[in-house]
Each structure stands twice: as structure tokens, then as C-alpha cells.
Amino acid sequence: MAQRKAYTSTVTEWKSAVGGTLVALAIGAVVVLLARSSTTGIGVTLGGIALFGGAAAVHVATVRLSVSADGVGIGAGVRGRTRWIPADTIARSEAVRLSWPQVFGIGLPVRRLTTRLTVRPGATLALRLQSGERIWISTPDPATAAAVLDRDDNEMKRIP
């Protein structure tokens, strides 16, 4: 067996999870008030929305990353499907720093398809695939992740 290096991270941004839950509650409250439900109905409905919204928020507020010389695995949530990206389909990998608007894809101009597994601003691994797709993943040490892929472009930079 040859020497192997790998990088893994699981990032959960609890502020995003709490924020998502509160947004779900607020939307639910508006819907329920508009429907003029009974008090019991309001309680049950809001409870259900909070539970579902909270679970969904925690799921999307967690991103998983695994990197080896063979490729990159990415996924959302604590468990679940992992998308595998073979190394030979990756044109470029680099460590970047995102701002809050970039985390959520807010702002113009719209350039090209970007897959975001970003839950907070700051350190992010940015991949550009041979197909042109861009993938951004929140991770504590993107420079090390990029180095494991054995790419040259691992200088920390801000995305223009």
C-alpha cells in the first residue's frame, strides 16, 4: 500500500441553522394567521413547521468534505449522499475567502453555475471542474485540502 494523505472536515454553522429555523417559523406564522386557524391549530402547525424547518436547517447548515489524491467527496448534512468528484475532472482547486453575500449567492452579475456547499463566510475550498462548474465548500483549512489534491493553486485569495 502506498503512502496516502487525506483531508476531511465537517462544518456546521449553528447560526445558519438557528436562522433557518426562525425563518421557517416566521413563514409558518404568517401562513397560519392568514388561514385564521384555531389556537390549537396554530400551536400544532407552528410546532410541526419548527420541527421540520429546524431539521432542514441543521441539514443544510452542515457540509462534509473529504479529499484525497483520487478526488473530492462532498455532502450536506451529518449523514447522507456523498457526491464523488474524480481528481481528473477537476481543472483547478484553490483556497479562497468568501463574504456573506457570496455564501448565499447574492449579488450581480450572474456568471456561471456555482454549486455552493457554503454555510458561513471565510475559508472555503473552491473547485473548478473541466465542465466549467464551480463548487465552493466551507472548510477550516482549504489550503491543506487543495494541497492534498496535489494542485499548484492553493494560495489564499478573495473571489472577485
Binding site: 500500500m1 496516502r4 494523505k5 476531511t8 465537517t10 473529504s66 484525497s68 467527496g73
Partner: protein
């Protein structure tokens, strides 16, 4: 967290557990942090998932990891007693001093032992 698997560096289970212990000691892993699932880590390292599971179970039995339904595998860094390592280092330095070893000579001995 960065993982290293070396050929001839001992069994895979032992290497995986050593990676986790070292990461906790150097702060790469902190209390409450999640480790990858066994299948994810196995695929990344190119080893059998049962090998990773065996390593995780060993660390859980030591109290360093916790398995929680819905939360995956998390680190319990407070359980790793750094004092044991520090005490061993103090003893090494003391014994080395008694036998006339310099700092550089002791460091060389440690490096040789860790190869």
C-alpha cells in the same frame, strides 16, 4: 483534519487511531467536532469500512469518541489525558540529564524512536 497512512507504519486500525489522537493533541480536532462517517473515510483513505469502524470503536472504548444517533461520531477531547504524555517527557528529560545527554542528543533519540 489531515490524515496520514504510511506503508509499514503499523496496522491500519492503529494508524487511524493514532491520527485521531495526534489531531486531538495538536488541536486539529476539538471537543464536539464531528469525524467523517466510516464509509466516507474508508473511501477517502482507500481502506475497508470495517477497518475504520474498528478504529472508531477502539477510540470510543477509550472514551475519546462518542457515537450519537443522528449526530454521527464526535470527539470527546477532554478525555485524552495530556498529562500522561507530559509526565513521560519530564521523565525522559530528567533521566537524560542524569546520564549527561544534551538537548540535541535527546531529540535525536526521540526522532530515531519515532521512525
Amino acid at each position: 483534519m489531515l490524515w496520514h497512512i504510511e506503508p509499514g507504519g503499523g496496522g491500519l486500525v492503529e494508524q487511524i487511531t493514532a491520527n485521531v489522537r495526534r489531531a486531538v493533541l495538536d488541536g486539529s480536532l476539538v471537543d464536539g467536532e464531528r469525524l467523517p462517517t466510516a464509509s466516507d473515510l474508508a473511501g477517502t483513505l482507500g481502506v475497508n469500512a470495517n477497518t475504520v469502524l474498528a478504529a472508531y470503536r477502539m477510540l470510543r472504548d477509550e472514551g475519546l469518541l462518542e457515537f450519537r444517533r443522528g449526530r454521527g461520531v464526535t470527539v470527546r477531547a477532554g478525555e485524552l489525558d495530556r498529562r500522561a504524555v507530559l509526565e513521560a517527557v519530564r521523565q525522559l528529560v530528567e533521566i537524560g540529564r542524569i546520564h549527561g545527554y544534551t538537548r540535541a542528543e535527546l531529540a535525536d533519540l526521540v526522532r530515531t524512536e519515532m521512525r
